[in-house]
Amino acid sequence: MTALSQGDVPAASSPLLKTRGLLAMALAALLLGVAAPRLVSSQLMLSLATQAIFDALLATSVGFLVLQNGRVSFGQAAFFGLGGYAFGVLVARGLMAAELAVLTALALPTLVAFLLGLVFARIAGVAHAMLTLAVGQAFYEIAFRWRELAKGDDGMAFNLPPRIFGFDSSLLQDPSVMVVVAWTILVLALLGLALFANSRMGQIAAAVRDNAERARFIGHDTTIPPAIVYAISALLAAIAGLLQATYNGYIAPQMFHWSLSGSALIMAVVGGAQFILGPAIGAVCFFILKDFAGRFAEYWPAIVGSVLVIVTLVMPQGIVGLLKAGWFRMRRQA
């Protein structure tokens, strides 16, 4: 993780002041989100924004694992898919109330990730990436081939129950509503991650990431904090999967596929995985890039590929890393 170690550590100003600043920023972002549907009239823009936010959530989940645990995951789609599938399957079969299905869809991936985290946290580098890839693909194979579960490779459409948490559920498939829901969740998630990173547990996890052995010798347990980070990261991915499944009314095995995990990782790194905000920004940029490149029909992979190579070579610290470096240079000159 050499690139990570170059990232400078945020100067710890007064924690209270910092928290207050964060809260103010989050509040402003939330208000902006609520206002968005009134400011943007195009349903298409709102729908694209909604889907970009799902990507941002997934990318944030991947980036958080890099930031807090120093681990690169190639299988984060496993939790994205698990969240979507748990909800879709439970609702489609009417096995439980929709509210309970939502909770299950969030709790199950979180728990699975926590248990896996207890084992995976020991393993670093390429081996870790391959391990998560294998786990993700194992889930994919199950979803792809288990036809009785959700029609295997074809995927499954399902209808939402009329009401969820007392609200008309069809609103969740309306972009002007979903965009606000998803944005709110993203903002709260980012705020939560920032608070976690400043919390004792978050800082201990960061210490374990930096040097697990020394963390033991200064008296900290080195199994639980990383596992908690895995769990939180999986929870975020599951939220993204749950939202996408709800919005589309459809689940398909591609939700588990490594190429999705890979894109999320690309978004996170392009945005700057060593910053909490980086992956979300990377996801939005990547989404816009791909949407733009899509106009050139079958040539889009080459466009995306070229941009990826150039961007990564020019700014290995990601977009946020570059912005931050630029900001410091400006301040120094001023």
Binding site: K151, D154, A157, N248, Y250, R295, F296, E298
Partner: protein, 392 residues
């Protein structure tokens, strides 16, 4: 994008030569969401070729009932979530008549959304029965042959055959499993028996273990339910193992024009279900094949034929509706008889599936080129699937 612009240019050129009334009419705007870069990129290419052909032809004739035809296309990467996004974009950007998706999963993913978006979808490749069966949705139509229709074609053919010991190699996805099951049933009903049922996973590189098992089981014939890359891999490798020459090889989606062209001699003598063939002997088809061959130098493939069929049906419905509004087209489409390259065909009102004949054929040399040639025709009424759909 620039293709769409070019198309518009071509269309405009055509427009200038026709009456002023046509210029005033609203254009018919078609959104083609198909796979341009993923697993099925080559099928997507065939869909695009048929699209250009059909639309050029219509515009050259002064448009559809005076309406100029325009289209826009996006890549779905054969992924349901991408398909959803691209179709939504097409609809919102003003191209509400959707067609072109390859994988059944894509079609099934966007089908329920058509009602909400006020758009309509005409399937030209999706095979899953559910699309017009258990999961049928309003504003969703299908002109291509669904799996159940292929299955119904097997029995008439099996009755003519001497082979009694059959093996099946089917891709381990919903389509392969379903087709294999129907085939086994047909074999048993015609007095034969199954000696091996093998389900290789999608995108298998090495078919040797399956080929070995077919040989070991002593099968006299093997029924192959593989498509695209899998089909080519299997055909190539079983030829190398001497299997193709030793026993009868037949299949569904196995002997498509594309596969046969790729395989060359390895495909010779292979039997298969044919959904459309450029060799069909009807005046309409002959005219179509001639026009096509003049333009592209090669005859149309089965997918190109079925995709073209979709445009024929759509354009006639627009004429009947005298409108390009989706609500009007949706009302006009079902329950009518259409003049097509495959004869007069009915788009059944109950499930919005086009009832069409199906064929059984063999790969033979035609004018020095290997091509699947129709040997048995099964009438539309005999392959018509049961109506399962309950949504209007």
């Amino acid at each position: 994008m620039f293709k769409a612009v070019m198309m518009t240019g071509v269309a405009l050129g055509a427009m200038l030569s026709v009456s002023g009334a046509a210029l005033a009419a609203d254009p018919l705007k078609i959104g083609v969401a198909t796979d341009m870069s993923g697993t099925y990129a080559s099928l997507g290419e065939e869909v695009m070729r048929a699209t250009r052909f059909a639309i050029d032809e219509a515009n050259a004739a002064g448009g559809v009932d005076g309406h100029k035809v325009e289209f826009k296309s996006y890549d779905t990467e054969a992924k349901p979530d991408v398909a959803r996004r691209q179709v939504e974009k097409l609809v919102m950007e003003g191209y509400p008549v959707i067609t072109g998706m390859i994988a059944s999963g894509e079609g099934l993913a966007i089908a329920p959304l058509m009602q909400r978006w006020g758009s309509l979808y005409i399937s030209v490749v999706n095979k899953a029965d559910e699309l017009t069966g258990a999961n049928c949705a309003p504003r969703v139509f299908r002109v291509n042959t669904q799996s159940a229709m292929d299955a119904a074609t097997v029995k008439p053919w099996l009755k003519e055959r001497k082979e009694k010991k059959w093996a099946v190699v089917a891709i381990d996805i919903a389509w392969g499993r379903g087709s294999a099951e129907l085939f086994s049933k047909a074999v048993k009903e015609t007095g034969g028996n199954m000696v091996a049922e093998l389900f290789p996973p999608a995108n298998t590189n090495d078919f040797a273990p399956y080929i070995e098992q077919i040989k070991k089981a002593g099968a006299e014939g093997v029924w192959v339910v593989l498509a695209g890359r899998d089909a080519v891999n299997f055909a190539q490798q079983s030829k190398q193992f001497g299997l193709t020459d030793a026993i009868t090889v037949a299949g569904v989606s196995f002997t498509t024009d594309g596969t046969v062209k790729t395989l060359g001699d390895s495909a010779k003598g292979v039997f298969g279900i044919i959904n459309y063939s450029s060799t069909l002997d009807t005046p309409e088809n002959k005219a179509f094949v001639k026009a096509w061959t003049d333009k592209y130098k090669v005859p149309p493939t089965n997918f190109e034929g079925e995709a073209y069929l979709g445009y024929q049906v759509l354009f006639q419905a627009v004429k009947d509706a005298k409108s390009v509004k989706t609500d009007d087209i949706v009302k006009a489409l079902p329950g009518k008889t259409y003049d097509t390259i495959m004869g007069k065909l009915v788009l059944r009102a109950e499930d919005r599936q086009l009832l069409k004949p199906n064929y059984f054929g063999i790969v033979e040399a035609v004018n020095g080129e290997l091509r699947p040639v129709v040997k048995t025709t099964v009438a539309a009424a005999d392959v018509a699937p049961e109506v399962v759909c309950k949504t209007k």
